[in-house]
């Protein structure tokens, strides 16, 4: 630090600027490297998931197997298949040689890289050697998991439940948010606060009577309990939409009103088109909330495997096939594919929505 003024005096201001740039460059690369390191560890389970899903089950317990998907290599020589081993040479270099003729104390190998050189005799016990693994993708896990958990059915179920509940939730939230943001009626602010208070109401408090009523209706074991309640709006969605509606100038409503538009017409032709970003955010949030939901589908669809969504199906699969981690990881990939892809496509809408809904409170 103390050297800088001296140098500036000798060489001039250009060099100091360069030094400042260098310092900034070092700081930026240091910080970015730190972030790369943290995010790599943070997302390591995903790498584990992908690697495991492409492995053969035997690789998981095999000693000396690599972390990436691989299979023991073999080498075909003179019409026969021979296993390839990692053979340490006298010079300390480990070579991948095919074991042609195993003996107890010395064995005959062939070098797959140079089969013309002929058989090589290696002194040592071949049983102490480890198999040589080569990169190999096992895609059968995906086809097996796909069929075992009946993925198409689970996918369609999840899509139907999440889709129907999202339509109900978004349509009702738009109406309620419009009512709260554009009309004056006695008790409006009080009602709005009551609505926000329902956020901290634990759902367990209403769970059992609701279950009992749905049971009396004969709706336990159907999708209705997972859809109908959403048609009555939800505090988060209404809050987010109302805040957005309040930013739309009222002059637009009034202009439409002068042109003879009724409240529904104003909602449809003025408010909704103006509020598309907020509506998209609410739609995405709700859809994937419903896509991920586990507790209520478990409660209402426990005895109906044919109607269950992915979350319940995957948990059931995990319990049944706990000895098949490769299948489970493949199934996990299939269950998360759609939400994760859509998130990357629409990450701005998601992330802005969180902040908008969270901080404004």
């Amino acid at each position: 630090m103390s050297a800088i003024p001296v140098r500036r005096a000798r060489i001039g201001a250009n060099d100091t600027r360069l030094q400042a740039q260098m310092r900034r460059f070092t700081a930026v690369s240091g910080m970015t490297l730190l972030a790369v390191a943290v995010v790599s560890i943070f997302l390591m389970p995903l790498v584990f998931m992908i690697a495991t899903s492409f492995k053969d089950r035997s690789q998981l317990t095999a000693p000396g197997a690599p972390l990436y998907p691989a299979a023991p290599e073999t080498f075909e020589w003179q019409g026969a298949e021979y296993p390839v081993y990692d053979v340490p040479g006298p010079d300390g270099v480990v070579r991948a040689w095919a074991l042609v003729e195993p003996h107890r104390e010395d064995s005959i190998f062939i070098d797959p890289a140079d089969p013309e050189a002929g058989p090589i005799t290696w002194e040592g016990r071949w049983r102490t050697l480890q198999q040589h693994w080569g990169f190999a993708l096992n895609v059968e896990n995906f086809t097996n998991a796909w069929e075992t958990i009946d993925f198409p059915r689970l996918f369609v179920n999840t899509f139907a439940i999440a889709g129907l509940s999202t339509v109900a939730a978004v349509a009702s939230a738009i109406c309620v948010a419009y009512g709260f943001s554009r009309f004056r009626f006695p008790g409006r602010n009080g009602l709005f606060i009551v609505m926000l208070a329902t956020i901290i109401l634990p759902f367990q408090v209403t769970l059992i009577p609701t279950y009992a009523v749905f049971l009396a209706f004969g709706w336990v074991g159907t999708w209705w309990p997972l859809i109908i309640p959403h048609a009555f709006s939800n505090a988060y969605n209404v809050f987010l939409l109302r805040q957005y509606f309040l930013t739309i100038p009222r002059e637009l409503d009034e202009a439409a009103m002068i042109d003879g538009a009724g409240p529904f017409r104003i909602l449809r032709s003025v408010i909704v088109p103006q509020a598309i970003p907020a509506i998209v955010a609410v739609t995405l949030f709700h859809f994937f909330w419903a896509w991920n939901e586990y507790f209520l589908p478990l409660v209402y669809l426990q005895s109906e495997p044919d109607l269950q969504p992915l979350s319940v199906g995957l948990a059931r699969f995990n319990a049944l096939y706990s000895q098949e981690p490769t299948l489970i990881q493949a199934a996990a990939i299939m269950a998360m594919a759609l939400p994760v892809v859509v998130f990357f496509l629409a990450q701005r809408a998601f992330m802005r929505g969180v902040v908008f809904g969270g901080v404004e409170k």
Partner: protein
């Protein structure tokens, strides 16, 4: 909640001079239209919140079993008396509280650290990092739990490989009553997305002049964090704290999936909510489960009130509100 600016101007002239009665105001066309639009909320609130709440309070004084609804009997405070001598309930409360004490500070600290990292002007590609840190939020919880079960596997999970590589023998995470809590806490770090974004918004609203002034006064990085950042973001810290505490008392899916709903090992994952689920939907003791739900409600409400009471002493409410 702030009153809505701009909603009254220009309409005042239409209102009669004498304040009209409630009934008149309620029946005005504007009021009726507004009420019609908020009707879904009003109906939903009554049908799916208010009435079920009262009903579950009523059920908590009965021995309601949905398989024999006709044989329901009023049993007074028996369910509440049973709570006091239910060792499994006490255990589930202890599991939940112990977990909250560990996981809430851990996730808050990690989320704040990540938010500061991705807010740093020294970081290249900040949006990419924000997206990547948020992303696990978007993975269905059952799927992410299943992934973590694999990572935490004692013999072939990568976490123990990593620990072995640096010379630490990894524990049998999911089958040890001691380590399953920390294992679930580690899993919880994948859920920092929302918290991180809310912290980030908080950090971005801190005026840079404050940092400049602190620097002039000779404050180092820690002093600036402690005396500028923390007080300025205390409202979002408070918000995240409340959300995290409520979420911990609702903790269910991860615990259910790792133990297949049994609370293994040794009831170390029998969280309050899992215990409630078992009472209600495994043993169909819905009267008792209703009482448990009300206990949960009272605890959550009490915690929230306590936090709001304490907020005055540590949450900085900017001057403009």
């Amino acid at each position: 909640m702030a009153s809505t600016p701009g909603t009254t101007s220009g309409r005042v002239a239409a209102v009669p001079l004498a304040p009209p009665g409630l009934w008149t105001r309620l029946r005005s066309p504007e009021s009726l239209t507004g009420l019609a639009f908020v009707a879904p909320f009003l109906i939903g609130f009554v049908v799916f919140s208010a009435l079920p709440m009262l009903a579950s309070l009523a059920l908590s004084f009965t021995d309601f079993d949905p398989r024999r609804p006709a044989e329901i009997q009023f049993i007074g405070l028996d369910n509440y008396a049973r709570m006091l001598r239910d060792p499994i309930l006490l255990e589930s409360l202890w599991v939940t509280v112990r977990f909250a004490v560990m996981v809430v500070p851990l996730t808050l600290a990690f989320a704040l650290a990540v938010a500061m990292l991705v807010n740093s002007t020294l970081l290249a590609g900040r949006n990419v990092f924000r997206t990547l840190f948020y992303m696990p939020m978007q993975i269905p919880i059952v799927a992410s739990t299943v992934v973590w079960i694999g990572v935490l596997n004692a013999s072939n999970g990568w976490l123990n490989y990593g620990l072995e590589a640096i010379g630490i023998p990894g524990p049998n995470w999911l089958n040890s009553a001691v380590w399953v809590g920390p294992a679930l806490a580690l899993m919880g770090l994948w859920g920092i997305g929302n918290m991180m974004l809310i912290f980030l918004a908080g950090l971005q609203s801190v005026p840079t002049e404050l940092y400049d002034a602190a620097k002039v006064d000779g404050a180092g990085p820690w002093a600036r964090f402690r005396n500028v950042t923390v007080p300025m973001i205390s409202p979002v810290l408070f918000y995240n704290l409340i959300i995290a505490l409520i979420a911990t008392f609702q903790y269910f899916t991860q615990a259910y999936v790792i133990s297949n709903g049994r609370g293994d090992p040794d009831r170390a994952t029998l969280f309050f909510n899992l215990n409630l689920y078992r009472e209600a939907f495994t043993f169909f003791d819905m009267g008792y489960a209703s009482a448990l739900a009300w206990l949960l409600f009272v605890i959550v409400l009490g915690l929230t009130i306590l936090l709001f009471r304490s907020a005055g002493s540590w949450v900085y409410e900017g001057g403009e509100r």
